[in-house]
Symmetry: C2
Subunit: 120 residues, 2 copies
């Protein structure tokens, strides 16, 4: 199976953690893309980081979900100095509003369509 | 504050539940929009339903997050007959792959930018 960039993060064996970040951005997006790419790189170095999904409705809501093996992995990411600096800048410049929900996964389930011989 | 359709669901007092549904769709989308709208109506009738966020990257990943007061509210939604029928049809027609993560929120946080007098 290809690790297609648009394939969602798989269902891991619970328990694990999800951090659901929902955000509406401002018009001021200087350095946002670069900082976002840097954060995506940095978080991969956190032991226990499992993956990240992101979807962005053009002109609307963005949802990012980070998956972590345990609360310690999340705490490490939360205390990362570069990450904290990016959060502060986000409040001042990039985000009109956002919400973070940190939750412990109790149940997970994945579905993948069987390849049809008819489909290319 | 306006209940702007793009404003994310707020941070409730934990504990509550999130159901994170990440999906990649197929080319076959007959009746998808109508069914999706019907599900959005139906879930609002579930006691303990708190809200829903959705973001869709064009041609890519869709993320839907449902928020529920407790496990009982989620169980009621999961057992809804029309919802179950829609899930089955989704597996046959609409989704190439999807993942569901059901998790209990332990911590939540919201940020809303103060209105600037300079901004319209």
């Amino acid at each position: 199976m290809n690790n297609h960039s648009e394939a969602p993060v798989e269902a891991y064996e619970p328990p694990y953690y999800v951090a659901v970040f929902t955000a509406v951005r401002t018009q001021e997006q200087s350095d946002y893309s670069e900082t976002n790419a840097r954060m995506e790189d940095l978080v991969k170095d956190v032991p226990g980081f499992l993956g990240m999904d992101h979807a962005q409705t053009p002109g609307g809501l963005g949802i990012t979900v980070g998956y972590f093996r345990d609360a310690g992995a999340l705490a490490e990411w939360r205390s990362n100095a570069e990450h904290r600096a990016a959060q502060k800048r986000g409040q001042v410049e990039w985000y009109r509003s956002y919400t973070l929900h940190v939750a412990k996964v109790e149940r997970s389930y994945g579905f993948t369509r069987a390849q049809s011989p008819a489909a290319g």
